[in-house]
């Protein structure tokens, strides 16, 4: 019976959190907490892997906890097993990383108790099988991650981020609560098995879909509910940022998939897929555009999380569109692409955040404009970061390419859809996806180039040293997994197929492992194939050949000359290409419309000794047009009702009394 074991392991994580409260002052506590978390995550990972790979039947368990008439239901099926793999892989590697990184933590008492609790919360969300347990675990996850965001609460920016996160998390949970209320129907059967059997009218089902989109989208970072994410994720310590960005957003995706694909059953209307598809496309492009404008390394990564969530939702939207037209084979492809991207994003985003954490430890800087040249003192970190950057930019032979390629294959099947709107919408989403992939590549050229190449832009960057062994082990584990999943995608797809089948009425992609040379054939030989191994082989061979040719034919005599004299007349590092200058062309093309970016150059008149200034002003359209009016309305209303705080006791009583009498009168008159 794996389920009691899984639950008791989660409970051990909670117990470790309690232990950390007592022992966090001791120096060894950090090692103990992260060590035990690592071991438990590895065990959980192994159990989930065996469940998924054996395609075992779902197991359920009911405990007499929670609501007295409901109990706490738990269930382990292929979908939750897959997401357990994602969560615990991320958790294990983050714990490994933190064995080294956690030593530098200035306030361990604010991180150690919540870290294992956060891991336990995410595991419980995946195992929950009734609405109460799900929401409880969901809130537990939100609150423990909020505590981690507030770990360094004395910085005003972090306090603001934490506040915004709390507000958005409450909003999301409220939406989910209402959604479950609709799903349970009039009889109030809140366990998932009952919810699956409830028949809903199309209108109510659509309302539930929108509520679920709000609830899970606010946690995952769907535009326009993403505003908290780029503030909160970077505020936490880096290994927690890796977990929040790489893993917690995936738990939100799990929530969406579980409710929409599993609990709601067959999509009722074709526009469901269109809606999710459009939201995903907008999220992908806006996320990457925001990211390009950022010079804070961790915030840039957080915006890329928004982009990748968009890509995942494109896949999910396509799957919904196909399912509503009973095209289950195509839906299987889209679902596989989405789930594959879930795994991939958790791998490379964790890798990138941890790489940033290593840079942060070495230099104390997150601002790219003050970094540079780190490839010399930190070659291994640079190599791992480069792998992650190539993976997130969807370059073959790494894993990001495979899942985005699969998404494109699914988009290429959309002309068979009968609805004209979808026929037009899907290629548009494809164009947005292509655009965001290209912009992401540009963004990571910037991130890697400015941070690791060139010369140091600050003394801190010049004095950097390579990070510790634990951190490097974590970085290279993830880099190796990225390469492995990219070169052997067929194995991953076969592993995913039970989860896809569960969501898709049994239809899944054909088994890939019997294809010759481990080639990926999603639809048919005639249409498209991809072989990661072949690409890797070709790239390795051509790279070696180029190196041999250059070293063989070029002169190897040592020459000394002024470095870059034509591009570098000034020896100051400030004369280098900066992150801001790299992003300028893209800012001019897209930013002037989307962000109303305005550049202003102030040249002092001749004879004036002041430096020239170059200013860029940008506005956030989502904040300006979405959130600012709401905030203003709330503030205006609060001001109007502020007087209510200063009434006499009799007035308050009279208000209560008057309201009661009015309501009763309403009942009498209305009947």
């Amino acid at each position: 019976m794996p389920l009691p074991l899984l639950l008791s392991l989660s409970m051990i994580l909670l117990a470790i959190g309690l232990y950390a409260i007592l022992a966090s002052r001791r120096a060894s506590c950090s090692l103990q907490v992260y060590g035990v978390s690592l071991v438990i995550c590895v065990i959980l990972l192994g159990m989930a892997l065996t469940h998924l790979l054996n395609a075992a039947a779902p197991v359920t368990l009911t405990l007499p906890l929670g609501l007295p008439w409901l109990g706490a239901h738990f269930r382990l099926d292929a979908l939750s097993a897959f997401f357990l793999i994602v969560v615990n892989l991320g958790g294990a590697v983050a714990s490994l990383f933190a064995l080294g990184y956690g030593q530098h933590e200035p306030a361990p008492g604010r991180v150690l108790p919540f870290y294992p609790a956060f891991l336990a919360g995410m595991n419980l969300v995946l195992l929950a099988d009734d609405a109460f347990t799900f929401l409880f675990a969901w809130e537990f996850m939100s609150l423990s991650s909020w505590a981690l965001v507030m770990a360094h609460h004395r910085e005003p920016a972090n306090a603001r981020a934490g506040y915004l996160y709390l507000v958005m998390a409450c909003l999301g949970t409220l939406a989910l609560l209402l959604a479950f209320g609709l799903l349970a129907g009039a009889n109030g059967g809140y366990d998932f098995a009952t919810i699956r059997t409830v028949e809903m009218t199309p209108g109510l089902a659509a309302l539930a879909l929108i509520l679920v989109l709000m609830g899970t989208g606010s946690k995952a970072g769907l535009v326009p509910l993403h505003v908290w994410l780029p503030l909160a994720h970077p505020a936490a310590p880096s290994h927690v940022s890796a977990l929040m960005s790489g893993v917690m957003t995936k738990v939100a995706v799990y929530g969406f998939i579980r409710i929409v694909f599993d609990l709601l059953g067959e999509p009722v209307a074709w526009w469901w897929g269109g809606l999710v598809l459009a939201l995903g496309g907008i999220t992908a492009v806006l996320g990457v555009l925001y990211a390009l404008m950022q010079h804070d390394l961790k915030r840039l990564l957080a915006y890329h999380t928004v982009e990748n969530i968009g890509i995942i939702f494109i896949g999910l939207g396509l799957a919904l569109a196909f399912q509503s037209n009973q095209m289950y084979a195509s839906a299987a492809l889209a679902l596989t692409a989405a789930l594959f991207h879930v795994l991939n994003h958790s791998l490379f985003k964790s890798l990138l955040f941890m790489g940033t954490g290593a840079v942060l430890t070495a230099t104390g800087e997150r601002d790219m404009e003050r970094l540079g040249g780190l490839i010399h003192p930190m070659p291994w970190t640079a190599l791992a970061f480069l792998t992650g950057a190539a993976a997130i930019s969807a370059l073959p032979p790494l894993n990001g390419f495979v899942s985005e390629w699969l998404t494109f294959q699914a988009i290429l099947l959309t002309p068979e859809l009968p609805q004209w709107l979808l026929k037009f919408l899907a290629p548009a989403a494809g164009a947005l996806l292509a655009l965001s992939a290209a912009l992401a590549a540009a963004c990571f050229v910037k991130a890697f180039g400015i941070t690791f190449l060139g010369r140091p832009r600050s003394p801190a960057a010049a004095k950097a040293q390579e990070t510790d062994r634990y951190s490097l082990a974590a970085l290279f584990t993830l880099a190796a997994l990225c390469l492995l999943a990219g070169t052997l995608p067929g194995l991953v797809i076969d592993g995913l197929s039970p989860a896809v089948g569960l969501l898709n009425g049994g239809a899944q992609l054909p088994a890939q492992q019997h294809q010759p040379w481990l080639t990926l054939v999603p639809v048919a030989d005639m249409k498209s194939t991809y072989n990661g191994l072949l690409v890797l082989l070709f790239m390795a061979l051509s790279g070696i050949l180029a190196a041999v040719l250059i070293h063989g034919f070029a002169s190897n005599r040592v020459r000394r000359s002024p470095a870059w004299d034509c591009g570098f007349p000034d020896a100051s590092p400030a004369a280098q290409y900066t992150a801001g200058s790299f992003a300028q062309p893209i800012r001019r093309v897209f930013g002037s419309v989307v962000f109303q970016a305005r550049e202003q150059v102030t040249m002092p008149p001749p004879g004036d000794g002041r430096a020239a200034r170059f200013e860029v002003k940008m506005r956030d359209p989502v904040w300006d047009y979405g959130y600012a009016p709401i905030t203003q309305a709330v503030i205006a209303l609060s001001k109007r009702f502020n007087n209510l705080q200063y009434l006499t006791i009799r007035r308050y009583l009279s208000l209560v009394f008057g309201a009661l009498v009015l309501l009763l009168l309403g009942i009498v008159l209305w009947r």
């Binding site: 200063y646 006791i649 009583l653 009394f657 009763l664 009168l665 009942i667 009498v668």
Partner: protein, 221 residues
């Protein structure tokens, strides 16, 4: 069709409404306390009668709680408080008796109009009980709204709570645990209110709410 059992239940519940109306125009605090004790006594009888006709033995416990705490302990405690505070000569007058009676009569009518159609399916005893209980609750609220003195507010609150217990006794099936916890929470409320009364008195030399409102300074912006 109306049996004697129904008549007695009807009489006792109706008696509570009448005593609630009596509470409305008691301007002296001692008189108010005595009428409240009568109110609680009637509640104990009403609940006891319900226990007898429903053959629900746990309701005897409820009746006992009402008798001991609400008819004896709480009035006695408030009596002591009033004497210790030296406010037994205070008159707590807000409006005219006629106005209060009219408002009270309107509330009783409202309660009956609301409850009788809603409870159409249930048996007659529960219907009457619920309608009267809502009337008692509304009259208790009216008493609280109408008075200045803190002790009168407490009495209003307690009589409102009596109405709730009456509703619970008539409705069948409220578990005993809930009743006991409600009774205890009322007792705790009394202790807290009693302590607060003395504290307020220490600070402001008065338990008149108007004096305190004036003291808060920040009102009326």
């Amino acid at each position: 069709m109306h049996s004697l059992e129904f008549d007695i239940a009807h009489f006792l519940a109706g008696g509570m409404v009448v005593i609630s109306l009596l509470l409305l125009y008691q301007h002296r605090l001692y008189a108010l306390l005595k009428v409240f004790a009568l109110h609680s006594l009637t509640l104990a009888l009403a609940v006891g009668w319900q226990a007898y006709i429903q053959e629900a033995h746990h309701l005897y416990v409820t009746a006992g709680i009402a008798l001991i705490f609400k008819a004896i302990v709480i009035p006695a405690a408030l009596y002591r408080i009033v004497r210790r505070l030296g406010i037994h000569r205070t008159l707590d007058v807000v409006g005219g008796v006629g106005r209060d009676m009219l408002a009270g009569a309107a509330l009783v009518a409202l309660a009956i109009l609301v409850m009788l159609p809603v409870t159409a399916g249930t048996d007659a005893v529960a219907r009457e009980d619920l309608a009267f209980a809502l009337a008692v609750v509304l009259l208790g609220l009216l008493l609280m709204v109408n008075r200045h003195n803190a002790v009168s507010l407490v009495i209003g609150f307690m009589s409102l709570e009596n109405g709730l217990v009456l509703a619970a006794a008539g409705a069948r099936g409220m578990p005993l645990a809930v009743e006991i916890s409600v009774a205890f929470s009322v007792l705790i409320a009394l202790i807290v209110i009693g302590i607060f009364l003395f504290r307020i008195r220490e600070r402001f030399d008065s338990v008149d709410m108007q004096a305190m409102d004036a003291f808060r300074g920040e009102r009326r912006r």
